[in-house]
């Protein structure tokens, strides 16, 4: 089952043609990794999937992005609903300067949920879902910024889970973390894929190989190759993909 489809997606920042006709089918409840050298457009592509690029000046996007068959760039789309459905986890852990509890509850309050009992319940479930509940359950009211980097990132994932997304877009979620925290997040991602569609941008090819089901290779704004991860890493069809994954450039 496909969750997200992009059709002939182009993106211009002023003069810069950053995405050049991307066609991609992202499968539901799978992990899709986007790899490629820096500046290849993978992060830009990820951000077009929940319209986080909208506020960038001089940006022009053409083509289609379908989420469950609905074009997200259609004029009738409510961006807040879109982003609730396709949540995002950022590169560096970025909890708000509030308590752990308030961080997770933030999105719920944004969406008008006021009942304490319900918020309590979802906060707990989200923290469990992000595999951090046991570490923080006794100090939910303490500042989130006092957590370690890895814990902060899992808290950010919990915060995203709290608004019940269907897809989770992760922009190099482990690049700012130490190896042990990275491992924990990778384990968590496999767990998440059971319920959510996960798209992850990573510059770490081993990570893509370890955790993803599908891999797309980007280069200079184009998607060069997209296949099951095993195929990409075992038998890339395109010479450029091979060059990249064997470390000949990038």
């Amino acid at each position: 089952m496909t969750k997200i489809i992009t059709e002939n997606l182009h993106l211009h920042y002023g003069e810069n043609h950053a995405l050049r006709g991307i066609d991609l089918n992202i499968h539901a409840n799978k992990i899709t990794a986007l790899i490629g050298p820096s500046g290849c457009g993978k992060s830009t592509f990820l951000k077009t999937l929940n319209r986080m690029n909208d506020s960038v000046p001089n940006i022009k996007i053409t083509g289609k992005v379908l989420l469950d068959g609905e074009d997200i760039y259609d004029s009738t789309v409510d961006v807040t609903k879109l982003r609730k459905k396709a949540g995002m986890v950022f590169q560096s852990p970025n909890p708000f300067p509030m308590s752990i509890y308030d961080n997770v509850a933030y999105g719920l309050r944004i969406h008008g949920i006021k009942k304490r009992v319900l918020i309590d319940e979802i906060v707990e479930r989200s923290l469990q879902g992000a595999a951090i509940w046991d570490e923080v359950k006794d100090r939910l009211r303490t500042p989130a910024l006092a957590l370690s980097g890895g814990q902060q990132q899992r808290l950010c994932i919990a915060r995203t889970l709290a608004v019940s997304p269907e897809a989770i877009l992760m922009d190099e979620p482990t690049s700012a973390l130490d190896p042990i925290s990275t491992m924990k997040i990778e384990e968590l991602m496999s767990e998440l894929a059971k319920k959510y569609t996960v798209v992850i941008v990573t510059h770490n090819m081993q990570q893509a190989a370890r955790i993803s089901d599908y891999t797309a290779f980007f280069l200079l704004g184009e998607m060069i190759e997209y296949d099951k991860t095993n195929n990409i890493f075992a038998a890339p069809k395109d010479q450029r993909t091979e060059n990249y994954i064997t470390g000949r450039f990038g």
């Binding site: 789309v77 949920i113 479930r125």
Partner: protein, 301 residues
Amino acid sequence: MHAGATCKKGCEELNSITGKRKRPTDIVLYSIIGLFTVAVFAMTAYFAGYILIKGLRGISFAFLTTASNPIIGTIGILPAILNTAYIILLTLVFAVPVGVGGAVYINEYAKSRKLIRVIEFTTETLSGIPSIIFGVFGYVFFCTFLNLKVSLLSGAFTLTIMVLPTIIRTSQEALKSVPLSYREGAAGLGASKWYMIRTILLPNASSGIITAIVLSVGRIVGESAALLLVAGGSAMYLPKGSFFEQIKSSGSTLAVELYRYAYSRGENEVGFAIAALLLIIVIGLNLIVKLIGKRLNRGAK
């Protein structure tokens, strides 16, 4: 299902992302913000325009270049302009070396973090003290204790303390922006500290120091409450005698004259003319600061 719990009610369309809806609270907030912002800036523009239109009419060559003559009934503010110039000059002569020196000390010499914190706290405190307090202090200390009487000199000393925080803080910013590598380069060549400060640090921080001076001039020109107490007097006559005799006599600056004309004597026309003059000076000073800032930015690029 996990997703179900959070949207028991609003999700009948089963997670469709279409159907735009502006939140009513957002609309209200946007309106409030817009309203207040318009009010604030419309008022500012109105005030500035009002002063300029009412005041510029009263400014003439004779107004600026003569003293008032009560016999033939002409009004001129040259004495006040001269007093203002004296006070600016004297204050800068005292305050700039001390302020810049203080900034150099904090940035280059001070090793004890505690001492730095004390200096920064007192600088902060100084900038929070209102001018009337400076006036009272200046009167007791400079006019009475040091026996300088109510005079331009007392005014300049009092203002020196008042502008000190501005000069220290702005110079400190400028010194901080001089790259560490310059210092290391000089030290690497065996230059002594004072030599390095003189030849590398201060020249490179000069725009910042000029900004500090311009900001101080703004403060001095606008000051009235403190000067009313320590420099007081009036500005009816042109200052007489040698430079030192002049600065030892009392005299009021433009801002104090504005107060005297408009409040004590009810001559609003003159008040507005001086107000327009002050406003033009303030606009000019602000533009200079902006230009220096722009040049700095371009230099950095």
